[in-house]
């Protein structure tokens, strides 16, 4: 799809999250130039500040940076897991066009989340309910989106597990008894079950061994091409970013220090931090 300034799916403007009591100088006195995100005057922590970007339909956007740079905070705010300090997020899907989705009632936010978004967390325990079977976990998301037919739910869940290469015989087993890679794949099945136009992946391969990592990444890439879903991929791992994403934001101390096409950033990093990041991996 051709991207122009009009047909974005998600537009983030001035997204900020500050823990603790900030004052007027908190943002000015933190950031990559000062190499800190703790305000020297108030001790408040600026997890991320003044984040602006657009995401286009079907695009995969990477957010890379060291731990504590605010990557996950952004995604968690977009998925309404965390409340923002300030900022606007516009979601170009009816009936939410032109509305700041962060300012909606929690019931509307739940609607948006259930029907239009999916999330895969780093830890499967955050995204799955370990007391429910893997089928039940997928069913939860389908029920949230208004599916109340057990036969259809099971058919769909089987299909999703097949797609994510989890043995379908384990539909009625608890994910607690699964391996880490399988849990992650069940989580992905759950996240994509209602075919959301937007999917968040928060460090999905961290903690998996290399061969499983490759399989999960491959799966995500295949699914992305099949479903054409827009994704925001958070990772500290540049090889994940290179493999999955079209465009990348580089973060440090809660700010975006560089943004551009992934290939460009990896080949020709401009910001000193990005240069350090690229050189320490390649």
């Amino acid at each position: 799809m051709k991207h122009n300034s009009e047909n974005w799916l998600l537009k983030v403007e001035g997204l900020t999250k500050i823990y603790g009591t900030a004052n007027a100088n908190s943002i000015a006195k933190t950031g990559p130039e000062l190499d800190t995100n703790i305000c020297p005057e108030t001790g408040s922590i600026v997890a991320c500040a003044d984040i602006n970007f657009e995401l286009y339909p079907g695009e995969v956007l990477g957010i890379v940076g060291e731990s504590g740079s605010g990557k996950s905070t952004i995604v968690k705010m977009l998925y309404f897991d965390l409340e923002q300090t300030s900022g606007t997020v516009l979601f170009n899907k009816a009936p939410y066009v032109g509305k700041n989705i962060l300012e909606q009632t929690s019931r509307t936010k739940r609607q948006i989340r259930n029907h239009l978004m999916g999330m895969v967390y780093q830890n499967p325990r955050d995204g799955l309910n370990f007391k429910f079977t893997s089928g039940g976990n997928i069913a939860e998301k389908l029920i949230m989106a208004g599916n109340y037919h057990v036969g259809n739910i099971r058919e769909k869940a089987t299909d999703l597990l097949h797609k994510t290469e989890v043995p379908t015989l384990r539909l009625d087993d608890l994910p607690a008894h699964f391996s880490g890679g399988m849990q992650q794949r069940v989580q992905i099945s759950k996240a994509i079950s209602n075919q959301p136009p937007l999917l968040f992946l928060d460090e999905v391969t961290t903690g998996l061994d290399v061969s499983v990592q490759a399989k999960v990444l491959d799966l995500i890439r295949v699914l992305q091409q099949e479903l054409g879903v827009a994704m925001i991929v958070v990772s500290h791992d540049l090889s994940v970013i290179r493999m999955l994403t079209d465009r990348t934001l580089v973060m440090k101390n809660g700010r975006i220090v560089e943004k551009g096409l992934t290939d460009q950033i990896l080949q020709d990093p401009q910001h000193p931090y990005t240069q350090l990041l690229v050189s320490s991996i390649l």
Partner: protein
Amino acid sequence: MIEDKKYETQYRFAFIDEATKKEIRRKLLKAIAVPGYQVPYSSPEMPIARGWGTGGLHVTLAIIGPTDIFKIIDQGSDASVNACNLRNFVQTMTGVETTLDTQKATIIQTRHRITEEALSTHQIFVYQVPQPEPLRSVERYENKTRQMHAEADYAKMWVSLYEQYVRHGDIMMGAGYPVKVNGRYIMAPSPIPKWDVPNLNNSKAIHLFGAGREKRLYAVPPFTKVEPLEFEDIKFHIEDFKGTACFRTGNTKAFLDELYYDDGSKHFVINDSNYLDKLVQKENPIQHNNHYLNQLDNEA
């Protein structure tokens, strides 16, 4: 009991002081205005321990007037210890007429059953509720369940029904089957058997629920839609008493109790004692009319 005659006469009508009664009535009005919503209330001290029917007693004593006719049942029986003691207490504190006759009563307090006989518009049905929170089985924190109710976020409840079906081939909820009231709140209908759940739907009587230990009141107003949760392909059904009949009346269309005699023989008998008495005396009591009972007729 109370030895000192002076204090015996100092209890006011219906035991609870007027200010607290007023508070309970206001909360009941709120409960009726928002069907199925759990309203917190004071749950004042009573001469019995919380969890032994205080919630139902609070409601009864707050709404009862001198002209009311009071009936109380425990698991369908007018004669169980809990029912007898609470009946005596209410009678002593108010002097109202008590009855065993379902038709005649204006206030019926109950533990775990709805009467087999149909209710009418002049009646109020009061439930003693042990656990008012239908979501407690899937979420143990009260602040979370309240938020779930507020946002109508009931997916977890539905998944637990799905899981029961997947594991056991049926939804394994004998009593307290979750219902949706007026298309909005999911409500625990106190642990009444599935048999009674359809009788809440579009009922002519007011249904008031009091949970004394948990300090919650809720209500189903008359002529309100009450639907048991069911999937499009896995339907709610009532208890199946196929192949059994009440040994005293031969009736097959009532909630039955299983009795074991000393010689080891097994008998089934109608659980609702007043309904049983009326059948034995050939009074032809009129039963609730619901789709599930009609189905039994069609099968017979």
